[in-house]
Structures are given as structure tokens and as C-alpha cells.
Amino acid sequence: MAVKVDARGLPCPQPVIKTKEAFEQAKGNPLLIIVSTAESRDNVMRFLKYSGAEIDKIDETAGEFYIYTKEISGTAKAELKLEDYICNTQQTGVGTTIFINKDRIGHGSEELGNNLIKAFIATIKELSVQPRSICFMNSGVKLTINRAETLPYLKELEEKGVELLVCGTCLGYFNLKEQLGVGKISNMYDISETMLKSSKVITI
């Protein structure tokens, strides 16, 4: 029976460490290692190769990788040097953030741009996929105030659970703080942290 290593969601080099532990206990059984990033897959494969294990097959389903080895005999040939298995890239974040830094889309016509941003927000709320957060800065904050045409759409998004962060400094600059109609007054710390923690930031 295959010895199973479920290393999904673990930051590297943990999948490799767990693989090594299983390797030592395999006693003639094959291994099945499950990881959830391509980088972990590559690291585990590299470790297996240097340790003398034979890969049977790799299946990829729904972004997860199932690595099957043939029967493991003996102990790992190579010493585990963790520095060889440090991830080169940062762990990816979670969710999409939309960064709206003006009250319109694009350059050219202000009138068209105002209508486009309104249409954009009206359309997002209709989609089957939703961003986790929307951050508003500079004149983008004007979309969140009471008389904004975008207000009902943003309220619907907020009800759905989309986090709306509105730059307090910007509201203050435009003298609109009292008129905020939706979202949470926020600051540079929260907004920049939200962006950095997202897997994707879309700037409008």
C-alpha cells in the first residue's frame, strides 16, 4: 500500500521534509505525495530523484499534483539539504483585489470614462466570480459617496461580502468624509497590505 503524504497548502520546504520522513518509513512500499503548487511538485520531484526513488506517474487535478513513486527500497541516498529546497518565489496570496484610483476608466473622454467605470462596477456585481476586495483612492473615492451613481451597485457588492476599502485621506482631501455611502474608511496600511496579500491586483 502506498504511503500517503498530504502536503497540500504547506509552504516549502515542508512538502520535501514530509516526503523525506515518509521515504524513511516506506519499507518497500510506494509513495503518494500530494502537493498544491508547481514549485512544491518540482522540489519534491528533485528530492525523489536525488534520493534514488523512481517516479511512477504524476497526475494533475484541479491544480493539485499527485506524485506516485514506485516501491521505495532503503533510505534516501542523498542528505536533505534544506537550502536546496527554499522556494524562489513568494507564496502566492489569496483572492483578487481591484484598485480603483480614479473616478473613471482610462484617458481620452472624461464623460465616456465616467460611464465606463459605472458600467464596470454594475457588471462586476452580475458575475459569477467576485473580487475579495476593492480599494478606492484619489478621485476613485467619489464612487463611494451618497450621491454617486455607483452607490447601489457597490452596496450590492458589499452585501455579497466584497470588502470595500476607501482611502480616508482622499475623502478628507475632497471634503467628502461625511458623505461616504458605502465601504469602510481605510488607510494606507490596510490598503497596501490588502494588495500585497492578494494573488492578483487589477488596477483600473
Binding site: 483572492g95 483578487t96 460611464n115 458600467a119 457588471t123 459569477s128 473580487p131 450590492e156 461580502g161
Partner: protein, 88 residues
């Protein structure tokens, strides 16, 4: 269930002109992107309650705003609001 009228236009210029003209009237309407059901073209349209459409068409005609079509759009806002979605 709410019944809306969707009025489409030949060009974006007419759609934006319609918005300007209608904003001066008291009639409730919205300018939204043309729903996928009616056209895959990019464009704005005007959305209003079905019973308001005759008044709006009259105003647009009086102001020489060329219209393309008027569609009937039945929508259950409650169901729309509860539709399943996922965060990405």
C-alpha cells in the same frame, strides 16, 4: 418578477446623449452595459420599468436621439441577488 424595457442605440454617442436628455426628466432610468442576452456588442443601453418606456421613447424622439431597439427584459431581482458566486 420585474419587467424592464431595454433601449439600445446605434452608437455610444446616442446612448450618452440619451442619458443626458433623460437626466433632465423626472423619469427613473439607468444606463447599463447592454445585457448579454440582447447583444454581444459592447455598448450602453437604457434600462427602465416597462411601463415607463413610452414616455422615454417620446422624450428621446423629441430630442432626435436615434434608437436601435426596445427589448422586454424580465428579471427576478431577488433571484439575481441570491445567485451563486465565488470569490476569485
Amino acid at each position: 418578477m420585474t419587467i424592464y424595457a431595454i433601449i439600445t442605440f446605434h452608437t455610444t454617442h446616442f446612448a450618452l446623449k440619451a442619458k443626458k436628455v433623460l437626466e433632465k426628466s423626472e423619469i427613473q432610468f439607468e444606463t447599463i452595459p447592454v445585457p448579454r442576452e440582447f447583444s454581444s456588442d459592447c455598448g450602453f443601453c437604457c434600462k427602465m420599468l416597462w411601463e415607463k418606456k413610452d414616455g422615454i421613447v417620446t422624450i428621446l424622439r423629441e430630442n432626435s436621439v436615434e434608437m436601435d431597439s426596445v427589448y422586454r427584459w424580465e428579471r427576478d431581482e431577488e433571484i439575481e441577488r441570491k445567485k451563486k458566486f465565488r470569490f476569485v
